[in-house]
């Protein structure tokens, strides 16, 4: 009688596997779908009354929202030269951009100068410090990487994180904002974006009417909220507290 273990071993070895062509086709479809998913897609939602909060120039703001501490530390972090694992991630972003073009994605990412990657802002989250790094790109804008300082470095020497590039040309509102959560930090929602006019802060208004104010550094901002938090509006202010851009958002 044939041994059950032998059958199992042989079956695992012999049972058909997907072809390389099918695998690559599926990979392209999945990645395209993922890219689509990660873009903000919100339906129109009733607006909350907005109560402006004036914020002084250059002030590092810390607000507590829904029990989650949110503090900006760009003063000590800004300009920090990026370590090799962060630079590697920017190089990989270039490879991803190339691959996206080759695979016919609608996404058109610029090429980044990884050698000029540097720290922009660091915030505190329940999962530890979260950093925003940036590097200039060949379209006159900048690309960024958002990572957690305490995450392990990948086997390929790259820092795991969310990366991308500021929108070009700018959106009509002059503010772009995204929220995302990542597999390694499933309870934390990262809010980030760009302001395309000179600005010192952005006020992010939540669906429940409360708000958080984030510093804008190098036209970028970063915040952390509990996963599932809905955003209703982002308003940018200059150093004098004047509103310079506004972006209503559409909640899920």
């Amino acid at each position: 009688m044939l041994d059950a273990d032998l059958i199992e071993r042989e079956l695992r070895e012999q049972y058909p596997r997907p072809s390389a062509a099918a695998t690559e086709r599926a990979r392209a479809a999945v990645m395209e779908s993922a890219t689509e998913r990660l873009r903000p897609t919100r339906s129109v939602h009733a607006r909350r009354q907005w109560r402006p909060v004036l914020v002084g120039a250059g002030i590092v703001v810390a607000l507590a929202v829904a029990g989650v501490g949110l503090a900006a530390g760009f003063g000590v972090f800004e300009g920090t030269p990026a370590p090799p694992d962060v630079s590697t991630n920017f190089k990989q972003l270039n490879q991803f951009a190339d691959a996206a073009v080759q695979k016919g994605f609608a996404l058109k990412l610029p090429q980044t100068d990884a050698s000029k990657a540097h720290g922009v802002v660091e915030i505190q989250t329940p999962d530890g410090p979260e950093d925003l790094w940036a590097a200039p790109n060949n379209q006159g804008g900048r690309c960024y990487l958002i990572d957690w300082a305490n995450d392990p470095i990948g086997k390929d020497g790259s820092r795991y994180g969310v990366n991308g590039c500021a929108q070009s040309p700018p959106p009509p509102s002059n503010i772009s904002v995204s929220d995302v959560w990542v597999y390694l930090h499933p309870d934390v929602m990262t809010v980030y974006g760009s302001v395309y006019v000179p600005a010192a802060t952005v006020q992010v208004t939540l669906d429940n009417g409360s708000s958080v104010t984030l510093p804008v550094v190098e036209n970028l901002f970063l915040g952390s909220l509990p996963k599932g938090t809905k955003l209703s509006k982002v308003v940018a202010f200059d150093a004098s507290g004047n509103e310079v851009a506004q972006r209503p958002l559409q909640s899920n």
Binding site: L2, L11, R12, Y15, P16, P18, A26, V30, P171, P186
Partner: protein
């Protein structure tokens, strides 16, 4: 209003999931369909749907059984649709078990009733526990155990007959 986009690429995490679980999803789909073209479509659809509905996934649980379940269900849907077409379109895949150059082992698997084949592949090929297989195929654990026992016995018979 123009669509906003700071361009986002949580691509590494998605691609890592794909690399780790694509073969599992495909083999689970193939266990249902027995056809490469349908398994390709079912597994791909499963992944795309999984990524789209990832927010609803309970991350306290392993990803593999979840994607396998989606793949199996999608494969069943595709197979049902295919069966409405002419039977002559089936079994055109030269690598499919049942074809002349397939091994006796694969012939034995291919000859199993579909519910036994699914149980055998999910448990013995993909390594899912009985409980996980039960959840994936939507039957009680005892039923899965019974299907496995009968399936393995039938495979053994086929192989022993071939070597007799």
């Amino acid at each position: 209003m123009a669509r906003e986009a700071d361009l986002v690429a949580d691509a590494q995490a998605v691609e890592a999931l794909f690399d780790e679980h694509w073969v599992t999803a495909w083999r689970a789909a193939y266990a249902v369909t027995g056809r490469r073209d349908l398994a390709d479509d079912a597994a791909q659809d499963a992944f795309v749907n999984a990524i789209r509905s990832f927010a609803s996934f309970d991350r306290a649980r392993p990803f593999a059984p979840w994607i396998a379940k989606i793949a199996v269900n999608r494969a069943r849907d595709l197979l049902r649709a295919e069966r409405r077409r002419t039977v002559t379109e089936l079994d055109e895949d030269p690598e499919a078990p049942g074809h002349a150059d397939a091994s006796g082992l694969l012939l034995g698997v291919a000859a199993l009733p579909s519910e036994q084949r699914e149980a055998v592949v999910l448990h013995h090929v993909l390594g899912f526990t009985l409980r996980e297989v039960a959840e994936i195929v939507g039957t009680p654990e005892g039923t899965v155990a019974s299907r496995l026992g009968r399936g393995v016995a039938a495979i053994r018979q086929t192989m022993e007959a071939e070597h007799a």
